[in-house]
């Protein structure tokens, strides 16, 4: 029996154009097809090319990559390019995310404090540190759009654990700090608050870095 057909239960393999069109239209059927179409192949590929032997880890990475790919295509931040298939694009996203996770690219709290101190310019009381979140009346719609785009990029892909999980539980699943503490095996709600605070500062630092890079502040 054709296992591929069994997986899709009657759905045909979609072409790149069909995938992108369906994603832009927000078609849930395409969501399912897109996920299943490359999943098995990715797990094997990850084992051979990213040294991810555990299928569960590979699936987690694959799911995250699907989220990013879907998100980018649905809001027009990605267009099909000649010579680059959808599969290649998807696998590259996963590879990048996996690579970043392995590098354990973290902004330490010391780095953040050092950064915040440098921005405050304590030696110049008249200096007003620019507020990166000040999108105010001076910013045009294009600047606002760019900042929102950066927020989209940084949130999810730019955050490492445990911040991603904490944000998910607090903002998406709307858990209390006590519930999050139990879920993540923290000692108590205060620990969750402290960790959440660190995550928010890290996120702010990450956003500021990107805003400065694109001259948005």
């Amino acid at each position: 029996m054709n296992r591929f057909a069994n997986q899709f239960k009657g759905m045909n393999r979609l072409s790149d154009i069909e995938l992108v069109s369906g994603i832009r239209a927000g078609d849930d059927a395409v969501k399912s097809a897109m996920y299943l179409q490359y999943r098995d192949e990715f797990v094997r590929w990850a084992a051979g090319n990213m040294d991810i032997a555990d299928a569960g880890d590979a699936l987690t990475l694959y799911t995250d990559a699907c989220v990013v790919a879907w998100d980018k295509i649905s809001d027009g931040r990605y267009e099909l390019k000649a010579g680059v298939t959808f599969k290649t694009y998807l696998f590259q996203i996963a590879k990048y995310m996996g690579f970043n996770a392995r590098r354990k690219r973290k902004i330490t709290m010391e780095d953040i404090e050092r950064y915040e101190t440098s921005v405050k310019r304590n030696d110049n009381p008249e200096y007003q540190a620019p507020d990166v979140f000040l999108t105010g009346t001076g910013d045009d719609q294009e600047t606002v759009r760019k900042k929102r785009s950066i927020v989209k990029e940084v949130v999810f892909t730019g955050m490492a654990e445990p911040c991603r999980s904490i944000f998910r539980y607090i903002y998406y699943e709307k858990m209390s700090c006590s519930m999050v503490a139990e879920k993540m095996s923290y000692s108590g709600a205060d620990t969750v608050k402290a960790q959440s605070y660190r995550c928010k500062r890290k996120l702010k630092a990450a956003l500021e870095e990107r805003f400065r890079k694109y001259d948005l502040i």
Partner: protein, 246 residues
């Protein structure tokens, strides 16, 4: 996440903004906070970006849940035999060749095998032809002198020269089936007959080799010729000459 005594101002501000965006404030607190936002553009913008972040987290996590639902409905099966059959057994690092690469690999192997087969046929044909030509160039009467009477060796030689190879083969088999004649080696006549018998055996070996060459069986001929050389037969020089021509 109520504001607590002892918290840093920053943490308190983060908490307050979160509580407002997440609609966790009491009514009177919310009104006070909104008045503060109206008076402070910076605060208003912080709230705006915080709202942006939270919306993005929710959106991405919802999307992730959608994919997890698909996974739950069609769970990945690592040990599916069909998967292994389709993609082959993984190597020690768990790698399987993609189907496309395997197809190309099989095609290359098939072409190589076909090329080897064709080459083998071609070389064998040319080798056989060469063997026939070498065998036909041998003048048997010059190598094996005809005896005065019709001996078994003469009959075999004539059969080969007359292209009666099957008959020659039968004669050779008949000759070899006959045991060596009993000779009294203590007498001169006995020794002469024995040496004559040995000479006939060597001649039959050489004739058989030539027969095989002419029949297009160069490998059989080669085996006999090497045997003749290794036994230091009377016909070793002729056998060496034939091998060099092959």
């Amino acid at each position: 996440m109520n504001g607590e005594k002892g918290q840093s101002p920053d943490l308190e501000m983060y908490d307050t903004i979160d509580r407002y965006v997440l609609e966790l404030m009491e009514e009177d607190e919310r009104i006070v906070f909104e008045k503060a936002m109206a008076a402070d553009a910076s605060l208003a913008e912080q709230v705006s970006v915080r709202r942006m972040v939270i919306e993005e987290v929710r959106r991405k996590e919802a999307l992730r849940d959608d994919f997890l639902t698909v996974e739950a409905a069609h769970p990945y099966q690592a040990d599916d035999p069909a998967d292994s059959e389709r993609h082959g057994k993984p190597d020690q690092h768990g790698r399987r060749l993609p189907a496309g690469v395997r197809r190309i690999m099989y095609f290359v192997i098939s072409v190589a095998a076909a090329a080897c087969l064709v080459s083998g046929i071609f070389f064998r044909y040319s080798y056989v032809s060469q063997g026939i030509e070498v065998g036909n160039d041998v003048v048997l009467a010059d190598v094996i002198q005809p005896s005065r009477g019709d001996s078994a060796v003469d009959e075999i030689r004539k059969a080969i020269e007359d292209v009666r190879y099957a008959e020659a083969g039968n004669l050779i088999a008949a000759f070899r089936s006959v045991p060596a004649p009993e000779s009294d080696l203590s007498t001169e006549e006995g020794r002469y007959l024995y040496e004559q018998y040995l000479a006939d055996c060597m001649a039959v070996d050489y004739l058989e080799a030539v027969k095989f060459l002419r029949q297009g069986h160069p490998f059989k001929a080669k085996r006999i010729l090497k045997s003749i050389i290794s036994c230091d037969s009377y016909y070793s020089d002729q056998a060496t000459e034939l091998l060099e021509k092959l």
